[in-house]
């Protein structure tokens, strides 16, 4: 059986209420029982005193004044009018010896009455008589019943009150805990953690918070180290590239080279640029992984796509492709990083152009039920089903015939994840591909 998750404060309040209920239930059982026990004992004492007085009366007045020896029905009986008590005397066999007190239910004038009855045999004038003195115990039963009912109601009230009281007290006591949890929840980046301590006098919470704070400090330090490392690595890589580039620039600038040598230098510069772009892409990916980019810019996606198109239109013109631009979503504003989103669309659109030899590249923005979509589709070579799952992996190119470093789509995927954009790809060989980006606004 699965135990449902319950808040700590409710668990504590429930546990308190349950333990109180247990104690009070025990009391409900025991107190009326004890009270009736004591009452019965008192009744018994009264019965014994009365017996002594009856015996004294019999002794002084003589048995004959109670029992008519000649009558057929020779018993004596006396009830008070409310039948709360009765006394009877009757002759019994000579060898009968009785001395008991017991419960007895009598029907008197069609009325059932519970009695506590003292039966006692006595020898008088050579005859044996049984004296019975009874006292109604309905009052005791009634009292016990009432007592049970009241304690039961009392139990319910006490439990409800104590549960509510416990709940509010526990809630108050756990307030710092809630605050600590809330603080952690608001922290989506180690550098944004609030080290100010929550005000509390509970040592457990102070201990908890100290532990969390020291852990966060360690995480933040590790995070900063990592960030510095990436920054330094890129610096270390880009500086030598920069030196080579400057040297090549100066060689060209001298203008003393033959045409052939100049072409070689220009080719080297291209290779250097490839290397630079590779380093920059890797650096960008690491920075996204480290969450170094802030996503607080309001980015108009339609405008970003237009900017990308402006930069990339030569490629479409050069390949004589048709560009279909349907930016139908109005007020397509996203909290994000404009640079990253630009790179994202640049990569997707650039890929669409690259793998399409004739036909069209279509870019659509849509808003369906408050959900924004960008669709980038082409009529290009497509991606085979077995390669489809690999396209977002680093350095795994879906098309070996074109030279690419397999980083463009991996970077795009990272940018999507970072902006909580989900990507769906549909593709058919020689028919084209479609990338659908769904923005979770």
């Amino acid at each position: 059986m699965k135990i449902p998750n319950i808040k700590l404060k409710n668990q504590l309040a429930l546990f308190n209420a349950a333990s109180k209920a247990l104690i009070i239930t025990l009391l409900v059982m025991i107190i009326p029982w004890l009270v009736s026990k004591v009452s019965i004992r008192d009744t018994d004492d009264v019965l014994i005193q009365k017996l002594e007085r009856v015996i004294a009366l019999v002794d002084s007045l003589g048995i004959d004044s109670f029992i008519d020896q000649e009558a057929d029905y020779n018993t004596f009986g006396s009830y008070n009018i409310l039948k709360e008590e009765y006394i009877s005397i009757e002759p019994v066999k000579k060898d009968t010896l009785i001395d008991v007190i017991e419960f007895s239910r009598r029907i008197i004038e069609d009325e059932v009455v519970d009695y506590r009855v003292l039966s006692y045999s006595i020898m008088k004038d050579g005859n044996n008589y049984l004296i019975e003195i009874g006292k109604s115990i309905s009052a005791i039963y009634q009292f016990e019943h009432n007592l049970k009912r009241f304690t039961f109601i009392f139990l319910i009230i006490v439990i409800v009150l104590s549960f509510l009281l416990d709940l509010s007290v526990i809630q108050y006591l756990l307030l710092p805990f809630d605050k600590i949890v809330k603080k952690l929840k608001l922290t989506n980046h180690p550098s944004s953690f609030n080290y100010n301590t929550v005000k509390t006098s509970t040592s457990d919470f102070i201990y908890l918070e100290d532990t969390i704070n020291s852990l966060m400090r360690k995480i933040e330090a590790a995070f900063n180290d990592e960030r510095e490392y990436i920054s330094n690595v890129s610096h270390e890589l880009l500086t030598p590239v920069s030196i080579i580039q400057s040297k090549l620039d100066n060689i060209l600038h001298e203008g003393k080279l033959s045409e052939q040598d100049m072409i070689k230098i220009v080719e080297s510069k291209k290779t250097l640029r490839r290397l630079t772009n590779l380093i920059r892409t890797l650096l960008m990916m690491s920075r996204i992984e480290n969450e170094e980019y802030i996503l607080t810019e309001k980015v108009n996606i339609n405008n970003t796509i237009k900017n990308v198109i402006e930069e990339i239109e030569e490629k479409i013109t050069a390949k004589k492709l048709e560009l279909k631009l349907e930016l139908n979503a109005s007020e397509f504003l996203i909290d994000g990083n404009e640079n990253l989103l630009f790179t994202l669309f640049y990569n997707f659109i650039n890929n669409a152009i690259r793998y399409t030899e004739n036909g069209s590249v279509k870019i659509e923005t849509l808003k369906i039920q408050n959900q924004f979509y960008v669709k980038i589709s082409d009529t290009g070579i497509g991606i085979s089903p077995e390669k489809l799952p690999l396209i977002f992996s680093r350095f795994k190119n879906s098309n070996e015939t074109k030279d690419s470093y397999g980083l463009g789509l991996a970077l795009s995927k990272k940018i999507c994840d970072y902006h909580k954009i989900s990507v769906e790809v549909k593709s058919e060989i020689n028919k084209g591909s479609e990338f659908i980006l769904k923005f979770n606004v």
């Binding site: 920054s231 890129s234 610096h235 880009l238 500086t239 590239v241 920069s242 030196i243 080579i244 580039q245 400057s246 040297k247 620039d249 100066n250 060209l252 600038h253 203008g255 045409e259 100049m262 072409i263 220009v266 510069k269 291209k270 250097l272 640029r273 490839r274 630079t276 772009n277 920059r280 892409t281 650096l283 960008m284 170094e292 980019y293 402006e310 930069e311 030569e314 490629k315 013109t317 050069a318 640079n339 790179t343 640049y346 990569n347 650039n350 690259r354 690419s404 470093y405 463009g408 970077l411």
Partner: protein, 225 residues
């Protein structure tokens, strides 16, 4: 024009110096922040090229300091970190331009020239060739009194060629100037050629001179006496 190059990488600093001196700028080099701060205190510079990744000094602090002695100087910040935050901070502190490593020396020169033109205003921003005049600031081209429509990229390309007249510009330098440093992967692209073709066509409607010469296998050159 006097330029201070603050760059801890000695090889890079000397390449920059060599290039700029050929363009007739006077250059001093500082390899450390301390050297730079001493040089700045003693000499009036027109430009300070500053690598913010100095080992002994936060480059951005150096801008603050330099502004006190050389309030007229222009700052071009060079960085290999390329972080956007640094870029913004650099501009806030009065850096006039920003170049990520690696950059082409020609691009650096064109940034320096652009700032200089801004400084001297209108009279330097208009360049004439034949009966054409090109306003590099207002992005305006006219033949005699007749305005010629060019696209944004065509302006940028033509301006770059004209400003570097009689110099061979390779396709990569032109691409870099126009598209910046996207994660471009078509290194053998000829998109520049498309633009050059269009510019030539537009100019030839007014004048038959072939201003833009093709340098086979390399790029283009704007030829003018």
């Amino acid at each position: 024009m006097r330029i201070l190059i603050v760059e801890d990488e000695k090889a890079l600093a000397s390449e920059i110096k060599q290039f700029l001196e050929k363009e007739e700028y006077n250059c001093d080099i500082a390899h450390t922040g301390n050297d730079a701060s001493e040089l700045i205190a003693d000499n009036p510079y027109d430009f300070i090229l500053l690598d913010i990744g100095l080992p002994d000094f936060n480059g951005l602090d150096l801008i603050k300091e330099a502004k006190e002695y050389n309030s007229e100087a222009y700052f071009i910040v060079i960085t290999a970190r390329g972080e956007l935050e640094d870029k913004l901070k650099g501009f806030d502190l009065g850096a006039d331009d920003y170049l990520p490593k690696p950059f082409s020396l020609l691009e650096l020169l064109s940034r320096i020239q652009a700032i200089t033109r801004r400084k001297f205003g209108q009279k330097m921003s208009v360049i004439e060739f034949g009966d054409f005049s090109l306003d590099t600031m207002k992005r305006y081209l006219q033949f005699k009194d007749h305005g010629i429509d060019l696209t944004k990229k065509e302006y940028k390309l033509l301006t770059y060629l004209v400003l570097n007249k009689n110099r061979i510009l390779d396709r990569l330098q032109l691409t870099e100037h126009i598209w910046g440093d996207f994660f471009e992967d078509d290194y053998d692209s000829n998109y520049i050629d498309v633009h050059v073709k269009n510019i030539r066509k537009k100019l030839s409607e007014y004048d038959n001179t072939n201003w833009i010469k093709t340098v086979r296998g390399i790029g283009y050159k704007f030829e003018i006496e």
